[in-house]
Symmetry: C2
Amino acid sequence: MRCPACGTQVTPFKNPVPTVDIIIETEGGIVLIERKNPPFGWALPGGFVDYGESFEDAARREAAEETGLSVTLTLQFHTYSAPDRDARQHTASTVYVATASGHPVAADDAQRAEVFHEGNLPPLVFDHERILRDYFAFKQNGHRPFL
Amino acid sequence: MRCPACGTQVTPFKNPVPTVDIIIETEGGIVLIERKNPPFGWALPGGFVDYGESFEDAARREAAEETGLSVTLTLQFHTYSAPDRDARQHTASTVYVATASGHPVAADDAQRAEVFHEGNLPPLVFDHERILRDYFAFKQNGHRPFL
């Protein structure tokens, strides 16, 4: 980033950027969104955590912003932090499971929001395919990922 | 932060800062460190994640730096993100469970490193008392925290 006064390059101390993603369980499956911004494609609803906001509040906020659904968080599932999981920058996502009723309505960064089940998942961006593989395994065997 | 050239205040986009803490299981209990820097007191070994570093790598690195132990991670336990958990700034800690053998030797940000068990824990800084309450409950009932 650059100094607003003189334009000199300023390098802040860089950390991985925390994000949240939400696996919203609703009638007929889970809610995915089609992204309005690059990388284009289907993804779990989610986004950046604000400074001063707990990850749980961020998860409820992002779910509401992108799908219109008021969700109830049921589980903190797992945190995914591989540096290459997002090609744009190093983000780390804490993934929550939530329940909601009603139909999703896309808004904010989502151009579509639809319900899918394990048998008809679309191709997914980021590492969301891996996340959902872990999730569907958990639904079968009851184990969240160990590492 | 300030511009290094002209001193103007520059405000980077602020995110919660990701950290890791490690519950190191060893003979006789778990390893705690006495901090060399404020806030002074006993704490789990841990620290900031570097940009480009997975949280698992950060956990192994911080454990080695502060206790001299080469740890094997066994479980990603839980992520704690309440904005008030660290009075200095908003940090979010992903906590790992690990095993190690040998005696801890304090170094880096730790001035002492010792083994404690549930019955003789010292007072702890940050939210590490809560984390260890969750951990000892997990050791009894097998459940990681849900939220």
